[in-house]
């Protein structure tokens, strides 16, 4: 049994940058490379893709990502663990095998984790309570397009136990992707709370890739990040004893230190004494970071409590449309003209009989991100971009927003420029329920034969 393994982070979202993952696969001396590619609503979106084409429904960037890293991963014997299976892990596995074949790498086995899709299980339980508003699931069931449980590291470790060089799942908790290779390599028990907590904390630090190595961090003149353009992805050296030391790809830019780790350990955490994953309940209040060398940080002090007996399930459902339009004003009285245009657009939409569940007029350059606090008295910018957006059950009403905004060129205050095409997007909303773990059946399937 190994004393220590190295696990790298190759993606932290479906749209994450790709070349730093290649650098890590080539030069990182990794044992495992994790690609975390699912946000809250992506599985719902991929379910819709699958309903149109049964071979689709895995993360669309899977092909490009694997094509880029597979040669280095095969040459360096780096195993891949990823949730890029999304709504169709078997289809993702077939795509992964095609990529390997086309690269001349032969017949790669892919171990597939099934069971996160619990749509039929929750459909039979319309009384399940939505965590966000306490309403029964029944209230959104007719519009439901997906229901996926956040599975844990145990089932991913089981998949690694098949020996396949690639493990693909759908929905799993992000830190579990990193904890799984530790469970597999060290044989930790599923109730070894201190070690599960240490691995979960490391996974949480790594799951957003560059956010722990200097991304989302720098402020000019205040928080410096060296060579940010060439920033590198992180890895963890995990020890069988539960020790965790973070590092990053040699020869890359960015920074990894106590400050970047502190920002990331608190990222998307609510109660810091109870970060609930399928694997354990993590308490980070006693965490310590020690800078052992440049870009090397030891993480200690994670506290673990027993896992809960439920899985969190994300329910995706259709919730109407969002329409958007933009147009710009510059020079004298730019802000006043943009405000005037905003009022005219609203009046025209009302006159056409459209109503909206939510509606807003933003002045980009003045108030689009943080609103306008009362009495803020901000200086007026030289130019401003008017953005109008609304949510509605009616596609036509959503389209009208962009249509009327673009019409400011000819039908609004003077000097409007740069209007854009009306934008409409389907809203795939999500809510959550808790499902007893014993109701969920997971399964490992190995795609391909040697």
């Amino acid at each position: 049994m190994r004393d220590s393994i190295r696990i790298g982070a190759g993606a932290g979202t479906s749209d994450d940058r790709m070349t730093p993952a290649l650098a890590l696969a080539e030069r990182g001396a990794l044992d495992f490379l994790v690609f975390e590619c699912l946000a809250e609503r992506t599985v719902a979106r991929e379910n819709l893709a699958r309903s149109k084409d049964p071979e689709k429904g895995y993360t669309p960037s899977l092909n490009e990502r694997l094509r880029m890293v597979l040669p280095a991963c095969v040459a360096n014997r780096v195993r891949i663990v990823s949730n890029m299976g999304a709504a169709n892990p078997l289809g993702g596995a077939r795509a992964a095998r095609r990529e390997a074949r086309e690269l001349g790498l032969g017949e790669l086995l892919v171990a597939v984790v099934l069971g996160d899709d619990v749509s039929s299980i929750v459909s039979d339980r319309p009384g399940l309570k939505l965590m966000e508003n306490g309403e029964p699931l029944e209230s959104i069931l007719p519009r439901m397009v997906s229901a996926n449980a956040y599975l844990g590291a145990d089932v991913l470790a089981e998949a690694l136990g098949t020996g396949a060089p690639i493990v693909l799942s759908g929905r799993v908790a992000d830190p579990s992707l990193f904890l799984a290779p530790m469970l597999h390599s060290f044989g930790w028990s599923a109730s070894d709370w201190p070690r599960l907590a240490a691995g979960t904390a490391a996974g949480h630090l790594l799951e957003c890739t560059a956010q722990v190595t200097g991304g989302c961090f720098g402020y000019p003149g205040k928080k410096f990040v060296p060579d940010l353009a060439n920033n590198g992805y992180p890895f963890v050296d995990a020890g069988a004893d539960g020790s965790m030391v973070l590092g990053k790809t040699p020869g890359t830019g960015g920074r990894l230190d106590t400050m970047t780790c502190t920002e990331q350990i608190l990222y998307e955490i609510h109660d810091p004494t109870a970060y609930i994953t399928p694997d354990c309940v993590l308490d980070i209040t006693a965490i310590r970071f020690t800078e052992e060398a440049p870009d090397r940080v030891r993480v200690e002090g994670a506290i673990g409590y027993p896992a809960t007996d439920t899985y969190k399930v994300t329910i995706g459902y259709r919730d109407g449309y969002i329409g958007e339009g933009e147009v710009s004003y510059g020079g004298i009285d730019a802000v006043a003209r943009a405000r005037w245009a905003g009022e005219i657009i609203q009046e025209r939409l009302r006159a056409r009989g459209f109503t909206y569940e939510d509606f807003r007029v933003d002045l980009i350059g003045l108030s689009s991100l943080h609103g306008e606090p009362p009495g803020a008295n901000r200086p007026e910018p030289y130019e401003v971009r008017l953005r109008v957006a609304g949510r509605t059950p009616e596609r036509k009403a959503a389209h009208a927003i962009g249509f009327e905004t673009r019409a400011m060129h000819m039908h609004g205050p003077g000097g409007a420029g740069g209007g854009c095409e009306p934008r409409v997007r389907d809203v795939l909303a999500v809510k959550s329920v808790l499902l007893p773990k014993h109701l969920v059946n997971t399964q490992i399937v190995v795609e391909g034969t040697l």
């Binding site: 502190t262 990331q264 350990i265 608190l266 939510d358 991100l369 943080h370």
Partner: protein, 106 residues
């Protein structure tokens, strides 16, 4: 220029549903008790009043010389339904940094 959170601490914002969490991390541990005294949940809710409905909870992490502010009803319904430009509210960390503080007693 009056004292701001920016002068003493750094921040990062994350989202879960319609809730924003924003960390406030002191550069220097000696400023933590002062921030604990002045950067109250009430002050933060007041500053965010035109953005978020609240409530605001503050978790104290003295070992990390940090606080974690959890601001409810802050993200226009959440990333999947929000019509805002910054649906995740990632830029709200910069708003936290701009909150003005009373000068410490010397």
């Amino acid at each position: 220029m009056s004292l701001r959170v920016y002068d003493l601490a750094h921040c990062r914002a994350g989202d879960k549903g319609n809730t924003s969490n924003i960390s406030v991390i002191c550069y220097d541990a000696k400023d933590w008790p002062f921030l604990r005294e002045v950067l109250t949940p009430e002050r933060v809710l007041k500053a965010f009043g035109h953005i978020a409905g609240g409530p605001v909870r503050r978790y104290e992490l003295p070992n990390l010389k940090a606080f974690n502010f959890v601001i409810e009803n802050a993200l226009g319904g959440g990333v999947t339904v929000s019509i805002a430009q910054d649906i995740h509210g990632k830029s709200l960390s910069s708003f936290m940094l701009g909150i003005e503080l009373p000068e410490p007693a010397t």
